[in-house]
Amino acid sequence: MKKPLRPPVWGKLWVIEKQSKPYGDLKMFYHLKAASIMKTLGSILFALLLGVAVAGAQEAKPVYKVYVDGLSCPFCTYGIEKKFSKVQGVEKIAVDLKTGITIITMASGKTLDKTTARETVEAAGFTLRDFEQVQIGPEDKGKE
């Protein structure tokens, strides 16, 4: 009697395969094997994403709202952007012309104080009305 083709023994999967089907159904074997590999890769990817998310949460950057008085045309807002872009640690600047609110995002580990914000706004030719921190960075959490 001719011996059926026997795939290599790849652990448990082969045992299941062996129990459910006689030797020789290689197509089904490789299908199940591919499914197993995909499942493993999915688990690894999930773990990686989770890790990134946790790390991201730990790297939250300080964000400040700077209320600027006197901003009333698009051309003038660029002065505010230019001056804040020269402040050490500033990573992102978003001006809202209608409200006069400028959102300043700092790099991790950097902070912006009210005095610096006032000096920067005044150097651009405008007036600081108010200043508040709307998101704290990891270095601030220990101070809470």
Partner: protein
């Protein structure tokens, strides 16, 4: 027609080249954000620069003297502004001019022309009052400066020395000063300016002093409303220039056919973004109360741009 187009092309190339050269020479520049025909009190940020380039075509041709004079002036004016502090800004202005005068004399039609760099102007502006509230600002700023005799003022042609009004430069050092006020909201802006320029003499000739009062309204046409961010604004512009010039003096004697008062109205458009402004307008003389046979203005076209560095 083809020659005119080629000539215009040459002028534009010269203008761009000279503007670039001026920009590189000075290193940086200045510009404002409001009226098309005069200054504003809006700030130039500390240690920052603004550049403005304006192209001007000035046509005068209604000649009551019978000499059928027709004068055209093309100018490309480069302005560089620098914020020494947020209140003190200094400006340098350098024009490139191309002037021509057609005149009929003893039955012969002659063209007299000159071109080249004109007189440089340097001035400073200091904000003495500002009131900033959310979405609005009101500012008052005096300014003072001097026009320097950097342009050629002794060009001659086959008919002799060109008249002073055709020379690229005046040859004189002329101080000036004034006051500008600006009220700006998110919807509109109003600027007013009063100024006086003392023209001194050169080559036994002295232009009359110039006093002027200017006003400008810019009204946001588009977008009609906006929610967030910094959108570009399209302004409709309407300005007025009331300009009085005293009589010129030649060898110490007043020229009765010079000086007078002109009122221009200036409709225009201006598109303003964070980094640049494009603008254009036409100065239309609605009142010209000129002395003697002074040459009347037909119109002045102005267009250009400003750029935030």
């Amino acid at each position: 027609m083809l020659l005119q187009i080629i000539d215009l092309g040459k002028r534009i190339i010269w203008t761009i080249g000279l503007s670039a050269a001026f920009f590189l020479f000075v290193g940086i520049g200045a510009a404002w954000s409001a009226p098309i025909t005069f200054n504003t009190a809006l700030p130039v940020a500390e240690e920052e620069f603004i550049f403005r380039e304006q192209f001007i075509f000035d046509q005068s041709g209604d000649d009551p003297s019978g000499a059928d004079r027709d004068r055209e002036v093309f100018a490309a004016v480069s302005v560089l502004g620098y914020g020494v502090t947020s209140d003190l800004a200094v400006f340098g202005v350098l024009p490139y001019v191309d002037k021509s005068l057609d005149i009929t004399s003893m039955g012969t039609r002659n063209t007299r022309d000159a071109s080249g760099l004109g007189d440089m102007t340097l001035f400073g502006r200091y904000t003495i009052f500002k009131d900033n509230v959310p979405g609005r600002t009101f500012r008052i700023a005096p300014f003072a400066g001097v026009k320097l005799p950097t342009g050629e003022d002794d060009k001659t042609d086959g008919l002799g020395r060109l008249p002073a009004s055709v020379q690229a430069g005046s040859g004189s050092t002329d101080p000036f000063g004034g006051l500008v006020a600006t009220y700006q909201t998110l919807n509109f802006e109003i600027d007013t300016q009063a100024s006086y320029k003392v023209n001194t003499g050169a080559n036994n000739f002295e232009f009359g002093d110039v006093a002027r009062f200017d006003a400008s309204l810019q009204y946001r046409l588009w977008p009609r409303s906006f929610e967030s961010g910094v959108p570009g604004f399209l302004y409709g512009v309407f300005e007025g220039n009331l300009i009085h010039q005293n009589k010129n003096q030649s060898n110490g004697i007043n020229d009765p056919n010079s000086g007078g008062t002109t009122l221009f109205l200036v409709p225009g458009l201006q598109y303003v973004t964070k980094r640049w402004i494009a603008e254009g307008g036409v100065q239309v003389p609605v009142v010209q109360n000129l002395n003697g046979t002074s040459l009347e203005k037909d119109y002045v076209v102005r267009f250009g741009f400003r750029f935030n560095f």
